[in-house]
Symmetry: C2
Subunit: 306 residues, 2 copies
């Protein structure tokens, strides 16, 4: 059901990154597709099921990537797509959502307020609410990444996955632990948005009052209990990284891999930068999960005025 | 014989590029692999044949991408690889050639001098000279791009191909004209390195005294007669573009597709920018053939000091 344009994404070793990181580095590149993130895998599942069931509309809250992907998948199946996002979201993401013909509603608050508002719209309009990470399709979409990762014998011993709501971590993690249990699954979250990591560590939902990170794609405050349960089954570790490490990792990917990535996509390498001893002589793989950035902002991050 | 890491590269529509170009735009992304260019397809063929025949060494002249790819393909098969390049070549390309364990010899002149020197080394050492565009493997490697382009029914009506020595143009072009003859094959070269385009137009080899372009990957002066013969069979047109258009196209790919590309990879979109009427309402596909740039230079191109 997933358009092939989202499948079999590039997966390759980036030796040019290795001297700076002190380990072998492979990447799974989820940005070379029409929506520049991995989210199309999941929205293709949702939209095709809705179209088959004769539904006409769907709504989701999104930091931008899920909304863009749902707009793309919904448009080609004649679905009315509504996306609720924070008015502070990355402009490039909001522009693409609009350009793809979705209805975009902005809330004057963060992603958690957008989630509330999307739920209200779904109830009022009687349409499907797509809840990222809670709805199985979003995890199953990510799980197809996992299947591609472990095809053949994986050369890596550790996979580093950005952790936000948990769809990617649980989707990829389940497959990896099932098919290649010897591979370590390490989730990485910013210190400025640590709710799910704290929850994983204490084995119960911990919420936070606010978030403070440039990694917009993973900045949630209210972990979903069912997703935490899943995460507890599959994650070998969950680590928190500083903003400076995220920026350094983005800069490394630019300098040595020629890749523009959004902050969430740099979390894996940020974790290596913060704990080089742990990963020394390992072969890590990280998923480059998105590249939707506001370019002027991106350029300020990676080229700070001296 | 080609490592799968080079095959089935991403091919997708980039709607965000379309308002600026006035036509439908798809790209074939040949940069998401360990050598960041399409050249690995051809060097995999050469290196595997050499290894099978028990050869131990190979030499080539290169602006950098062929050399890097040959170094990669040769290393994993135990071949001694020598690359001859201009000392003015892109530093990042030269660094990667060295990092991959090849012997790098620099000449104090342009690519044509490097070709002479590589031929001399091959003769003196009695080893295989890999001649880009003349040696069929380099065209066959590129031809595998063509096979992927026309799989299923191509949605594009025009393919825009960077033209240098001619391996990519003839390799891709032969397959496209064979399997999808209705698709227009348009080769694009910089006005500052027009030898092959002039030759194609006059149907005989025309050489130039010098080159003057930032598109280092296509800056040749001495077209190979056999390659010209091939090009005459498959190209529907060959056009020349200004340096300014190449830079504008690079900037568009950065702004709207999130892609860092080398100048040669922007030639196709430069051609659209220079003749929007011709391509209006067409669906063009262009091959993003490489992303190996010196980043400070790249940043000067796309962000000129105001």
């Amino acid at each position: 059901m997933i358009d092939p344009v989202f499948l079999d994404s590039p997966q390759y070793r980036c030796e040019a990154l290795e001297p700076a990181l002190g380990c072998e580095v492979s990447i799974k590149l989820e940005t070379a597709n029409p929506v520049r993130s991995f989210k199309g895998r999941g929205t293709e599942l949702v939209a095709s099921q809705l179209a088959e069931a004769g539904s006409r509309a769907v709504v989701c809250a999104s930091a931008g990537n899920l909304g863009q992907a749902l707009a793309w998948s919904g448009r080609r199946r004649g679905l009315d797509v509504t996306v609720v996002a924070s008015r502070f979201a990355t402009k490039a993401k909001l522009e693409r959502i609009r350009a793809l013909g979705a209805k975009l509603e902005l809330v004057d608050g963060d992603h958690e307020l957008a989630r509330e508002r999307a739920a209200a719209i779904a109830q009022y309009d009687g349409i499907r609410l797509l809840e990222d990470s809670l709805d199985l399709e979003t995890c199953e979409g990510a799980a197809t990444i996992g299947l591609e990762l472990v095809e053949g014998t994986p050369e890596f011993d550790t996979v580093l996955i950005a952790l936000g709501g948990g769809a990617m971590a649980t989707g990829v993690g389940h497959v990896v632990k099932e098919l290649a249990p010897e591979v370590d699954v390490v989730c990485v979250q910013p210190l400025g948005a640590p709710a799910m990591t704290h929850s994983w560590r204490r084995r119960r939902v911990i919420t936070t009052e606010s978030t403070n990170t440039i990694a917009d794609g993973v900045a949630g405050r209210f972990p979903i209990p069912e997703v935490l349960d899943d995460l507890l089954l599959i994650a070998d570790d969950a680590v928190l990284v500083h903003e400076e490490s995220i920026v350094t990792a983005m800069r490394l990917l630019l300098d040595h891999a020629g890749l523009i990535v959004e902050p969430s996509a740099a979390l894996g390498l940020a974790a290596v930068l913060e704990d080089p001893t742990r990963f020394a002589n390992h072969h890590i793989l990280t998923i480059i999960c998105g590249s939707n950035v506001d370019l002027p902002t991106y350029q300020r991050w990676v080229n700070p005025p001296s």
